[in-house]
């Protein structure tokens, strides 16, 4: 606390004597400074606040606390106190090491295939014989004589089971074991994902722009070592437009096909992001916001119901309103999610699952609203609040009376030591002005004008008494803090303001005398 470097204790602001207890100080005041009812009052208020803190810290041991005893229901489960989470062991690193070494090999092979595919597509002749020569020039084929059986199905080749070659790796297989990669697909594979749409608009692309785009499309490029030239694309386009062409696909082996398919799936995954995502994200942020406000609200509500004057009723009401509004938003968004997908009996399984997911999200939102938002207790009405406050004051009074009694009993014992303390403090006089100034400056740390021009206006009016200026500054900060819903700071600032006011009074008084 900021009081550290200042005098601490129950000090009379006028004669700077330290009184050990608030009761003594008040008594002293009543006896010696009767003429200043204002100060007396403000002092009493201050003590009231201090007492609240003290009472809280003490846990009100001297009073039967009904609330806590009511809450202590007899739970039958044994409570062994806090417990830490059990042992865990991670295999992530080992897993990834193995996966990476393996995938590196795969991606190398895939890259090789893509590059070959690109070369094949480049200037692919229409004529069958020419095309075969072109293909063999790029990928050397396995010699026919070396292979007697189809490596995949282990059946021997004969007149009806002809020998075929994979166009990508040159391996031999029978017709049944062959897979086919259509030229359209092949073209899609060698070009980045976004290219296709653009091509429809401008069939003849400039090579420079094209390579640019390749650089941008990270995934498409990451495994593509070499960019396709414009000529290759032209040839592809030519092929597609020429529907008379009899072979619109490459014959490939299963292994190559699998590799290419896996790459395609990976690519698709990166671009897939359904609508529900956006809604869900929105809902999630709203829920987080609501949680934030609920926390603030409960703090305020507890304080208000304690009869404290840290927060004010209107603010609490406002926060509650805000929470309700966020609740409405959550409700609307979740309803929207629930109606995103509609199904009937014939719908696909995946659609049904999506439907179920959305319904569950909605259910969760409802549970959340019911448990968290609708249960927030209402702000006490003004009358109720007054009643609570009064009750609290009664309690404090009772406490003070009790304390006084205690003190009087202890008085005799303490008298000796008290005198010594007094001596010490008498030798270190400090002006009350500096005290409160210090307090204000320290406590307002961390709270600046958040870039609003209004902050400067205050500074310009330097002609004012520094105290008044400080106070109006504080008022401005309070307003600002309230606008930004930082109610803790409002409370702290208001406390400062009050202290400042009392100090100001004190100064005025000493000036007059």
């Amino acid at each position: 606390m900021a009081h550290v470097e200042v005098m601490e204790g129950f000090i009379c602001p006028i004669c700077m004597t330290d009184f050990k207890t608030p009761t003594l100080l008040t008594k002293h005041f009543e006896e010696f400074h009767k003429d200043d009812p204002e100060i007396l009052k403000s002092l009493k208020d201050l003590f009231g606040k201090a007492k609240k803190k003290i009472l809280k810290q003490d846990g009100m041991l001297d009073y039967p606390n009904e609330i806590s005893s009511n809450n202590q229901k007899t739970k039958q489960e044994i409570d062994w106190g806090p417990q830490e989470i059990g042992e865990m062991r991670s295999h992530t690193k080992y897993f990834k090491d193995i996966r990476n070494t393996r995938l590196e090999r795969y991606s190398m092979e895939t890259n090789k295939l893509i590059i070959r595919l690109d070369k094949l597509l480049n200037n692919l002749p229409n004529d069958l014989v020419e095309r075969k020569a072109h293909e063999r020039a790029i990928v050397p084929w396995v010699d026919d004589k070396d292979v007697r059986l189809c490596p995949t199905c282990a059946k021997s080749f004969n007149l009806t089971r002809r020998k075929h070659h994979c166009r990508l790796c040159g391996v031999m297989m029978c017709h049944d074991c062959s897979m086919f990669l259509s030229l359209v697909e092949a073209r899609k594979m060698t070009s980045p994902a976004s290219v296709q749409d653009d091509l429809a608009l401008s069939p003849i692309t400039e090579s420079t722009r094209f390579t640019d785009r390749l650089v941008q499309a990270g995934i498409g490029l990451s495994k593509l070592a070499r960019s396709p030239s414009s000529s290759s694309l032209n040839s592809v386009l030519l092929l597609i437009s020429d529907s008379s062409n009899n072979e619109q696909h490459f014959r490939v082996c299963q292994y190559c096909k699998n590799l290419l398919d896996a790459r395609e799936r990976l690519k698709a995954r990166h671009f897939e992001k359904p609508v529900v995502y956006q809604f869900y994200d929105k809902m999630h942020t709203q829920i987080q916001e609501a949680n934030h406000f609920i926390e603030i609200y409960y703090k305020m509500w507890n304080s208000l119901n304690e009869g404290e004057s840290t927060y004010n009723l209107r603010d609490a009401q406002m926060v509650r309103g805000k929470i309700a509004k966020i609740g409405d938003n959550i409700d609307i968004i979740s309803k929207r999610i629930a109606t995103l997908v509609n199904i009937d009996d014939d719908s696909a399984v995946s659609l049904k699952q999506e439907y179920r997911l959305n319904q569950m999200v909605r259910t969760t939102a409802m549970i959340y609203l019911k448990n968290e938002l609708l249960r927030t207790p209402p702000v006490p009405t003004t009358e109720e609040y007054e009643a609570i406050k009064k009750e609290r004051q009664e309690r404090i009074k009772a406490r003070i009376a009790y304390e006084r009694q205690l003190e009087e009993e202890q008085m005799e014992k303490q008298k000796e030591s008290q005198r010594e303390y007094q001596k010490v403090y008498d030798h270190s006089p400090k002006s009350p002005t500096s005290t409160s100034n210090q307090v204000v400056l320290d406590q307002s740390q961390g709270w600046g004008t958040s870039g609003r021009p209004g902050g400067n206006i205050m500074i310009s009016s330097t002609s004012m008494d520094p105290f008044i200026e400080q106070m109006s500054n504080l008022r401005f900060y309070i307003k600002q803090a309230r606008e930004e819903c930082k109610f803790d700071e409002v409370a702290a600032l208001e406390k400062n303001l009050k202290e400042l006011q009392s100090a100001y009074f004190a100064m005025k008084q000493s000036d007059n005398s």
């Binding site: 417990q83 865990m88 393996r102 869900y280 259910t363 549970i367 209402p378």
Partner: protein, 571 residues
């Protein structure tokens, strides 16, 4: 040492590690039970887990690529295979994989090789590999763990894994003690020590004191699971059967649809949490006051006249609704229990059971059993359990009339599957091989206790029996447990009083023993005791266990009544 918390922390950690976003939980049969025991669906939903899927489902869905998938499975061979398939053709976006137990490196390698699409983000071992029933009670859900008086291999493996998981999740590295006269105990103890040594890197915990793992055999105390129970949880399990916190009430006449299956979870049902250890009489009282309170509230809500009334109603409505659900549930359950008690004359049966288990008055008890066998209200299984208790108690007495009672059961047309238990239980317990007589010892203790209780006037004739377990644990707490009958594994002998005790009962524990452990925990605040079993038995499930256990052994006890003519007629 709270096993429920241990599981909860793991699951919470799982859901947090994957960050915000919609999640699906992929589980196997056992992990589904493990999680559903400690989390309600709404709790899981609040953790952004919206869908639940089984890895072994026959028809797997297409999947949703934008979901995060949390995989929580046991590291079984089958699961590894299924998970490999899943990774090769992933149905969800990214995967966070958690195994409930120690997994061999080769399996991790296999999975890594199948993750060609790089969908896996994390792979961990989280040792939530047991059913946490109460904070001090766990089970592995193995209904019959032995065959021919020895372990069945798969269940042995499961038990070892389960106990290792309990130890890891509670961060305990224990000294092991076991029941010396049981081979199964010794076998299990040695295997656990082997794993502890092998995985010694995982078991380096800072421990204030060395915990004790005590391994016991059900066969040493076959009496406890035979008795009818009168505390709420135990009684519900005995008469209605609790399965994963769920009670099937569909057999109850005129039951409403939503009460066909009720969930009794101390985690989520405050009434149950407060009353699960109360006896039936007390429960009746509590239910009555609950009803009164409910009616008072319901009445108050009925007259909604002013706006203020309405407002109050709306504000308390969720609470009101919740309460009405609780009331309806417990009223139904308790109502059903009291019907069963009255219909089956359970009070009289139970009184005799208690006498049979605690006192030795052969002739009067024999008369009473005969009387009850002839009572048409008494169920077949209750008649059987009386004879079983009698057989256990008086098997060594030459003048016993087991054969006579057996033929009486036959005359009563009690099904064969029950009558044969009369002799099976003798083989199961191995009465003749036992040096100490279970009943004698208890009888002595009981006489003094009874005298004491009688003086205080708090004697309850239906709860005279205390399980053997209580005695063993009391001795253990005092540091007086016989180190001949319950030796330490290895050379270590600790004379200090243990602070943390983990008791494991091979062949299943009971809710009566759970209550005993609960009470011991309350009586000894410095000591923490948890109890586990291969399963939690009631009479029915225990009968199955007995049958499975004695299968293939040479029966020492056979119905002598083969000579009995009536027996021939039946066969």
């Amino acid at each position: 040492m709270n096993v429920i918390n241990a599981i909860k922390y793991y699951v919470t950690k799982m859901t947090e590690e994957s960050g915000p976003g919609m999640k699906v939980l992929l589980m196997d049969k056992q992990t589904t039970s493990i999680i559903s025991l400690v989390f309600s669906q709404s709790e899981i939903l609040m953790k952004e887990v919206y869908l639940f899927d089984r890895i072994d489902a026959a028809v797997r869905n297409e999947g949703l690529k934008h979901l995060k998938c949390i995989v929580f499975v046991r590291p079984t061979e089958e699961n590894i295979r299924l998970l490999s398939d899943e990774l090769r053709y992933p149905k969800y976006g990214v995967y966070y994989i958690y195994f409930s137990n120690i997994i061999p490196k080769t399996d991790i390698k296999l999975l890594a090789e199948n993750d060609e699409q790089e969908v896996v983000r994390e792979v961990h071992e989280f040792y939530a590999d047991y059913l946490a029933i109460n904070s001090h009670l766990f089970s592995f859900g193995i209904s019959t763990c032995s065959k021919g008086l020895n372990w069945e291999k798969p269940y042995f493996e499961r038990t070892v894994q389960g106990i290792i998981a309990v130890l890891l999740s509670l961060k305990k590295c224990p000294l092991i003690r076991f029941q010396n006269n049981s081979d199964m105990c010794k076998h299990l103890a040695e295997k656990i020590r082997y794993v502890l040594n092998q995985e010694s890197n995982s078991f380096k915990f800072r421990q204030e004191s060395q915990p004790i793992l005590l391994i016991l055999d059900r066969r040493d105390d076959p009496v406890t699971p035979l008795l009818n129970q009168w505390t709420y949880q135990a009684m519900v399990h005995e008469l209605l059967t609790i399965n994963n916190n769920r009670v099937d009430l569909s057999n109850v006449k005129g039951i409403t649809k939503e009460l066909k299956e009720v969930v009794l979870s101390a985690q989520h049902d405050e009434f149950y949490a407060n009353n699960l250890y109360l006896n039936f009489g007390e429960i009746g009282q509590v239910i009555k006051s609950l009803m009164d309170e409910f009616q008072k509230k319901a009445k108050k809500h009925q007259k909604v006249e002013s706006i203020a009334d309405m407002k109050a109603f709306v504000e308390t409505y969720p609470l009101f609704k919740k309460m009405s659900g609780t009331v309806a549930k417990h009223v139904t359950v308790v109502g059903e229990l009291s019907t069963l008690v009255a219909n089956y004359n359970l009070l009289e049966v139970s009184e005799l059971e208690q006498e049979l288990s605690c006192q030795s008055e052969h002739s009067t008890q024999l008369q009473k059993i005969k009387k009850l066998i002839n009572d048409s209200r008494v169920r077949d299984i209750d008649a059987t359990r009386l004879v079983m208790l009698y057989a256990l108690h008086y098997a060594k007495q030459t003048s016993n009339d087991i054969a006579g009672l057996y033929s009486m059961l036959k005359k009563r047309n009690v099904p064969e599957k029950y009558t044969k238990l009369v002799y099976s239980i003798l083989d199961y317990s191995g009465v003749s091989t036992k040096q100490i007589n279970l009943f004698d010892r208890e009888a002595v203790a009981k006489i003094t206790k009874k005298l004491f209780k009688g003086l205080n006037g708090v004697d309850n004739i239906y709860t005279q029996h205390t399980p053997l377990l209580t005695e063993i644990i009391e001795d253990l707490i005092k540091g007086k447990l016989n180190s001949q009958s319950f030796p330490y594994l290895g050379n270590t002998v600790i004379t200090r009083k243990p602070q943390d005790i983990i008791v494991f009962m091979i062949g299943g524990t009971t809710y009566e023993e759970s209550l005993a452990i609960y009470n011991l925990n309350k009586q000894n605040p410095g000591t923490k005791i948890i109890l586990g079993g291969t399963t939690v038995h009631n009479f029915d499930s225990f009968c199955e266990e007995i049958e499975a256990t004695v299968v293939g052994t040479i029966a020492r006890y056979k119905p002598r009544s083969v000579r009995d003519r009536s027996d021939f007629d039946h066969n």
